[in-house]
Amino acid sequence: MSQTFGHPDAAAMHTEGLHIRLCDGIQHMEWPQAGMTADFLGVFFADIAAAAGADARSARHAIGYLVNELLENAIKFRVPGGAPVLVAGGVEGSGFFFEMHNQSTEDVAAHFGTLLEELTSRDPGDLMIERIEANAENSSSGGSGLGILTLMSDYSAEMGWTFGDKGAGGTLDITTRVRLPLD
């Protein structure tokens, strides 16, 4: 049975827009690729967003932040040598639409699902402050979930996730969809 969290229909993969495949092959997926890909999408869509009435600089930064946060997670929790991470984005009306497909192990997906249930259950701004306070009590805590909470609270992003069925090799496909309003 597939599982959904938040707003799984926040965006849909369009045939137009920009599609990128990050493959964990000869060129290993590494941390800086999240930022580089995020910067590229930010620059690519800034003028397109401006033509649609948004502020180019705000759009570049907001798209860059969104893509970097989601790709950092996808790269951190990827199955080594597994399926590519697919990202797609486009500007439509006053929003940026983003979709990401990645794969994770069953354990990672179960942990992430529990986290998403909590993150989508209440006001993200209040939850963020509470989690930061709780994190501060634990000096080694990296603030897991803070990226998603800042996107929902500070950027008013509408976000949703669909977890597919467990496939061969015990991995799951995770689809993330986001609609990011542009200022």
């Binding site: 930022g35 950092e72 994190n135 603030g143 803070l146 500070d154």
Partner: protein, 113 residues
């Protein structure tokens, strides 16, 4: 002067003012530890006020926001040290996310100009 410098970012302290510049997208708490240590060492000297100058910090990921948030709570808990955070209206993430620090520590002076 204490300084941490890479191709992407630079963090340095002048007295109780800490300056941040560039793009900080480090991979988590451990990667941010040297920066956290520098900030903690300044707080340990118990200055009247610590200033975080972020006016040239173009990008910061959520692990970095977590670092700033945890430090804000540490300063709040350390009686006798105040805190000021300076941001720029030219850097969009700052107007969006820095007000969260004020929620954590209402006495903090936040200036985004």
């Amino acid at each position: 002067m204490q300084e941490i410098k890479t191709a992407e970012y630079r963090v340095w302290a002048e007295g109780a003012t800490i300056h941040y510049e560039g793009t900080m997208r480090l991979s988590g708490t451990e990667a941010y530890a040297p920066v956290q240590d520098m900030m903690g060492a300044i707080l340990a000297q118990a200055p009247a006020q610590i200033v975080l100058d972020l006016t040239n910090l173009e990008f910061l990921n959520s692990s970095g926001i977590n670092l700033l948030a945890k430090f804000t709570i540490e300063v709040r808990k350390a009686a006798g040290t105040g805190m000021a955070v300076r941001g720029s209206t030219l850097i969009p993430w700052q107007s969006k996310s820095l007000p969260n620090l004020k929620r954590l520590f209402p006495d903090l002076e936040l200036t985004i100009a």
